[in-house]
Structure formats: structure tokens, C-alpha cells
Amino acid sequence: MDVEVRNIHKTFGKVHANNDISLVVKSGEVQGILGENGAGKSTLMKILSGFISLDAGSILLDGKEVTIGSPADSVKFGIGMLHQDPLDFPPLNVLDNLILGSRERMIPNRKKVRQEFVELQKQFDFSISPDAFIDSLSVGERQQLEIIRLLWLGAEVLILDEPTTGISAAQKIQLFAMVRKLSEQGKAILFVSHKLEEVEALCTQVAVFRQGMNVGQMLPPFDNDKLVEMMFGKILTRSDRKCCTQEKVNIEVSDLKIDDPRLPIKNVNFCIQKGEVIGLAGMEGSGQGLLLRALAGIIRPSGGHIWLCEENSSKKDFVGKHYFDFKDSGISFLPADRLDEGLIAGLDLREHFILAEKQKGFFVDAKAAMQLTEKRIKDFNIKGTAENMVESLSGGNQQRAELALLRQPLRLLLLDHPTRGLDIESTLYIWSKLKQRCSEGASIFFVSSDLDEILQYSDRILVFFGGKVSKPLDAGDVSVDQLGQLIGGRGWE
């Protein structure tokens, strides 16, 4: 199906999120959409899928003008959207979830649905059990399920809003293969991303959004520098790798053991130096998340030691202590799922900053809080105001807000996908902020599914495979290929 939008406008209060956007995506095309955080990409996608309504403009499907009043309408017209932040799934199994979303028949034919599901899956080499419970699926699997569900509902236009941010490299390959297949089948695909190399690999045409406007289109071969300039209005230079590692040991982990029913982890040994950045690589769910949470004090290891080392070379074992003790000794954890674990939907930015700071007295000093908030908004370049509810910020700006909540000073920063959903400029900016923390003596431990990010920013790398943890590897000595091998389970002794 061909999709066309003409002169779309959408304002949120003073923000002109979509300003006269026009775009044509023909059947079989994969339309890339690039743009900085808050450029209005998700807004347009949500208009197409009926989640928000447009102020002015028109939508044409196969040349016929349509009115999309609700998500149900858009499904009826054959538009399916995979959201940037996964919508809540009810705690059901896969099949029930599928049936619940259809609402077609009063009495569902479970056998038929199961068969259709299995067949669709087979087309794309997915392997989700129809009886698995949704909570037991990884982010990547949920995403596969969601796409299958959209196709099952008859989607002819598929909108993928930053689909690669939470999934593993292997799942990304599967996803890309799927997208190519679907475009061959004649579906129109809109692919929103911040990663130029993904757009290059997949898209047949690209549009760049900036401050609510469609500022330009490009056909392959894509000129990356030109695209970056279109996105940000300037050419960006990558900062040089800078190592801040000091000779002093910050944290020592010995014989750490985590009893997870699905993925027991044993024999983890390493030291973190002050100022060091350690990247954790591995397929999603290989144990990185567990180790991160154990170091944060959120899950309790069943054995071993986490030594916090002091200047005078005395050290204290933190295994068994409460999460708040970890937090109070300067260990901060930044979860990946922003609105689920990091921020509080329903509170505004100012309230978040009040909560994140140390409590002073009994009454909140509204004026001081306002000043602090305004300073942080400026420091972290958050697009929003102190009174903005966090859920109204764009995905990337939510991420900046989360980073802006971190306290000073810090000993160890545990980051789960710190730059997920950030545009290129923000990623550079955030890492410069993080590196600054390192030069002040903090160590960083981060999980990322982006190998380039791991190689670019880590001093050392730990690779995870099925609960096994490698020895720390020097980032300077490994190549993407070697890393890929280890992640895939090859080359382990």
C-alpha cells in the first residue's frame, strides 16, 4: 500500500512538533526517518497510527484520503506501528495476547490462531512459543511478537519507531532480514532510527526531520556527513578516545555468584580501576543485566565479595547490604526502561529533581528546586520545561532527564543502555559528560547492545555468553569481529 502525508501540522502547547510535513512512501519502499531528539518523528508516526490526532493536513492511502481517528481505525486501514517505548503487555501468554488484540470474533478459534501464528513465525525464522508468558520474553522477543501480531492483523504499512535500540545484534540481523522480506512482499515500511549505518543498510530513501519540519530527502548512496549536517545543522566530530584510568583500585569483585533460576552466574572476578570505563557485551539476557543489578545492590549475590576500596587501601565487603547502602556510597544505577524503572510518569521534571536530591529539612524549598531544575535542563540540554510531565518528553529527552538525575559525587555508575534512543549529537554529549565523571574518579560499567559504542568508549570489555563471563579484554586489542565471535559463543575455552 502507498502512504502519503500532506502538510501535516501538530502542536503541543507552544511546541510545533510537526510543522507542514509531507512525505510519500510507496509500496515496497523502506523509508528511513532521521532526526535529532524531539524532531517530531514519533509524533508523525503516532498520527499515522491513530494515537494522536493531527491539527491540519491529510493522510492518503493508495491515493485515497482517509481519516484516522483511533488506533483501531489505523489497524482497520492496514497500518501497524511498533512503538519506541514498548506498550504495556498484560500478563498473558502469547496466544491470548494475540487474540485479545484482534477483537474480531466473540469466540476466538484458538487452534486457527495458533496455526496462523506458527506459520507467520516460520516465514521469519522466529521461535517464540505460543504458550510462553509475555513477562518471560526478552525485549527483542516481545518486539518480534509485536511485529507478528501487526502482520497477523493485516498490516500493509509497518511503522518501526527506533526498533533497534533494545535488541541484540543477532536479533537485529533477524529484524533486518524480516524488513527486507516484507518490502519485497510489497509492504510500505517507515523506519525511524538514529543510526546512520542502519539506515544505510536498509532504507531505499531517507527523510530528515528537524524541529518539526521535513528538511530534506535523500536517495542512496547516502552521504553520511551531509545527513548529519541536515540533522543538526552542523558537522559533528567524534571526540578522541581518552583514557582516564587511574592506578587506584575502586572496586574489586571476587568469586561472585548469582543464583538466577534461568541463568546462574559463577566465578566472576575482576577489578575496576578509578576512572575506568568497562563495557559489557553479549546477547541480551546473557547475564550482563544480572551482574549490573548485583553490583547496584538490587539483587543479592549468593556468594562472593564486592569490595569497595578506599584511598588508604582498606576495603569493605558490600555483598548482602541493602540497595540504599550501595546508593549512599556513591553507586548509582541507571535502568534501561525509562518510564518503568527510571522516571515516574505523572510527575513533572521539577518534582523529579527534588526527589533525586538529598532531602533538606521537612518542607520543599520550591524556589531552590526551580532554580536547580532550570540549571539541569540547561546543562543537559533537555527539550522541555520544569512543569513538563516526564512522559510528555520525547524518548531521547527522557533519557537525558534520567542522566541529569544522577547525584554528585559518584564512585561507580552502572548504566543499562545509557544512550538508547539518543541522537548522535546527544550521544556524543552524554559521553562527554560521563567521561568528565571519570576524570573526577568515578568508574563506569555499562551495558550496550551497540558494539561500536562499546568499542568506542570502553577501556576494557567483559563479554557474556549464557551466564559465562570472560576475563576483562583490553578494548584496544579486540576487533569487532573477535567480539562478535565471543558474543556468539565461539572462541571460549
Binding site: D55, L339, E341, I344, A356, L405
Partner: protein, 364 residues
């Protein structure tokens, strides 16, 4: 027309503004509730105008009626204020009723101890109030403990403890605390020494009224101006994030129950000392449940509980005359209250959907 609206919502249109402005949308809800009850009354072959007239005279027609409304406003507003804490923390304290009952029982217990002694009445009254607070708090605390450490949903815990409180009450008033000779579900009347001082010729106690007003202010300040209030709100909105941000979520949930219990207990004590002057079955007056409705409408803004509670009480006091004057059931008040809640919730839902869709979540 419908098509026009979804496609190109004129954000300056009269209807759109009417539905998305909080004040006008609430007014509309009240109008709908009134129309709805009028229809109902009309179907019962009575004249809606005279029904509302009766209600208004019933509530405000004489000094006596009016003081009764004010008097009954006190326990309802206290109960609703208590529920502000639990609502803010995202909890449904259905156990409010039992907590009020326990407050009343504890407070009457003190009376029994000092009955016939020559202790100063001010001292006894203060002790009664403190004991009442203790009783309510204890009962709420138990629900909170069960929720935090036993994983029992506070709704079921609350219901259970309501039953137990009622059972204890029945046991006392028909058993050890029964007045000599009769068993009518109530204890002996308090010695007038222990009554909260009342305005001459009315049942209204300025002390009780004063306590209620102070509580409105206190709860507003606590919930809207302090770290405690903000943290409670955070816990109510997202427990997981709040914990990771460093809030002792369990402690805050317990505290919400405790503070709610404090106000429930206070309500119970005032029911004994200020209004009923006996301990009897059903002493809570259902304020725990009506308070839940008021609380829902107030949408965790403590200051708003005062006028809403006032409207609710005026309705039920005013409707008392319906049975006599118009041969209608005075339960009509309950119907109007229910209709109010439903229509307010509906209009609020409509407002939020419209705003979310057309304006985005801006602030507030």
C-alpha cells in the same frame, strides 16, 4: 459532524473548551447528575423541583438544619482527608470504616475507665481523643503490615478488618459494655462532663469544627509542600522507580496507612465525644465509604475535600425529609451522590482523553 471533530479539532471551539477545562467539565458533570436524578424522580412519579426544594430546605432551611449539616461535615471531611494519604500513595483503604469503629471503641474505653472519677474533664477528653487515634492507627497499621509483609491486597485486608471491628463492637455493646437491664446495641450515655462543649441550643461543637479545619490545612500542607508528600505521590505513581530513586517505598506505604488511621481514629473519637455520646453499632455512620467517594472526586487535592464533603453531607441531611414530605425514600441522597461520582469520573475521563489526544500532556 463526528468526522469533522476527529479530523480537524478546532481547539478554540466552544464545546472543546467546555469539555477540556477542568472547572466547566466538572460543572457539566454536576448538571448531568442532577438531570439524571430528576429523570429518576420523575419516573417515580414525583416532581423533581419539589424534591430538590425539600433537599435544600432540609439542609439549609433552619439554623438547626444548617448546624446539623456542619456537624456531620466534620467526620466526613476528616475521613476523606485521611484517605488523601492512601490515595496519594496509590492505595485503596477500604478499611477506613473499621478504623473509625476502632477509634470509637478505644475512645469509649477511656470513658469507662474514668467514669465516676473526678478527673478533670478536659484531661479525659484529650485522653479519649488520643486513645481513639491510637485505635484507628493500630487498625490501619495492621492492614499496612499485611500488605507489606504478607502480600495481602489492602482491599481484602481492609474488608477483613472491617468485619473484625464490627464484631468487636457488637460483642462489647451486647456484652461487657451493655448498659444495665437493656440490650439495644448501644452503651450507656456519656456523662455530659465528657461531651465536647457544644454551642448553646445546638449539637454543633466548635471544637470539632476547629479540629476539622486545622486538619484540612495540615493535610494540604503536608501533601503539597513537603518532601514527605512528594515522596508519597511518587510511590503512588511508580513504586519501582521510586525505590530506585532512593525512597523507602514500603515505609512510605505504611506511613500512608498510619496517617490515614490517625484521622480515622480521630473521626471515631469525635463521633463518640461530639455527636453520639454513646458507643453504638454503626457508629462510623458509613463515613469511611462515603469518604472514598469524596476522595475519588477530590483527586488527591486535600483542599477540595472540604467543599465536596459539604455537598455530600448537605445532600444526605437534606434528603432526610423526603420520606416524610414526598413519600420518597431518603436513600435518594445516596443515588444522587453515586450519580455525582459516576458523572464526574466520566467527564474527567473524557477531559483527559481529549487533552491527551489533541493537546498532549502539558502539565498539571
Amino acid at each position: 459532524m463526528e468526522k469533522e471533530k476527529t479530523k480537524n479539532p478546532n481547539q478554540n471551539s466552544f464545546l472543546f473548551n467546555l469539555l477540556t477545562n477542568r472547572a466547566s467539565s466538572m460543572t457539566l458533570a454536576v448538571v448531568f447528575a442532577l438531570v439524571f436524578t430528576s429523570l429518576l424522580v420523575w419516573m417515580m412519579k414525583a416532581n423533581p423541583i419539589s424534591v430538590f426544594q425539600t433537599i435544600i430546605t432540609g439542609a439549609f432551611g433552619s439554623t438547626n438544619n444548617f448546624t446539623q449539616v456542619i456537624q456531620a461535615w466534620v467526620p466526613l471531611v476528616l475521613a476523606s482527608l485521611g484517605l488523601m494519604f492512601t490515595f496519594t500513595a496509590g492505595l485503596w483503604n477500604i478499611g477506613m470504616e473499621g478504623q473509625i469503629v476502632m477509634g470509637a471503641i478505644f475512645s469509649y474505653g477511656i470513658i469507662r475507665i474514668f467514669d465516676g472519677s473526678d478527673a478533670s474533664s478536659a484531661l479525659v477528653i484529650i485522653l479519649c481523643i488520643l486513645a481513639g487515634i491510637l485505635g484507628g492507627t493500630l487498625w490501619a497499621f495492621l492492614v499496612g503490615l499485611l500488605k507489606n509483609f504478607g502480600g495481602v491486597n489492602e482491599i481484602f485486608g481492609g474488608l477483613g478488618f472491617n468485619f473484625i471491628a464490627d464484631a468487636v463492637m457488637l460483642f462489647l455493646v451486647f456484652g461487657p459494655w451493655k448498659p444495665e437491664g437493656v440490650a439495644n446495641g448501644s452503651t450507656k450515655m456519656l456523662d455530659t462532663r465528657f461531651w465536647l462543649p457544644q454551642i448553646e441550643g445546638t449539637y454543633l461543637s466548635l471544637w470539632a469544627l476547629g479540629i476539622a479545619i486545622v486538619c484540612v490545612i495540615l493535610v494540604t500542607v503536608i501533601l503539597q509542600g513537603t518532601y514527605f508528600g512528594l515522596k508519597l505521590k511518587a510511590v503512588g505513581k511508580n513504586n519501582k522507580s521510586s525505590f530506585l530513586l532512593g525512597i523507602h517505598t514500603n515505609r512510605y506505604m505504611l506511613l500512608a496507612f498510619v496517617l490515614c488511621g490517625v484521622l480515622a481514629g480521630l473521626t471515631g473519637a469525635l463521633q463518640v465525644l461530639g455527636f453520639n455520646h454513646v458507643l453504638r453499632n454503626n457508629i462510623s455512620g458509613g463515613y469511611g465509604y462515603i469518604g472514598l467517594m469524596v476522595g475519588m472526586l477530590a483527586n488527591i487535592q486535600p483542599l477540595i475535600t472540604a467543599p465536596i464533603a459539604f455537598i455530600f453531607i448537605a445532600l444526605s441531611k437534606g434528603a432526610a425529609g423526603l420520606g416524610i414530605d414526598l413519600k420518597l425514600d431518603s436513600n435518594l441522597a445516596g443515588v444522587i451522590q453515586g450519580a455525582l461520582v459516576i458523572f464526574v469520573l466520566i467527564m474527567d475521563g473524557v477531559r483527559k482523553v481529549l487533552i491527551k489526544k489533541f493537546k498532549g500532556v502539558q502539565s498539571g
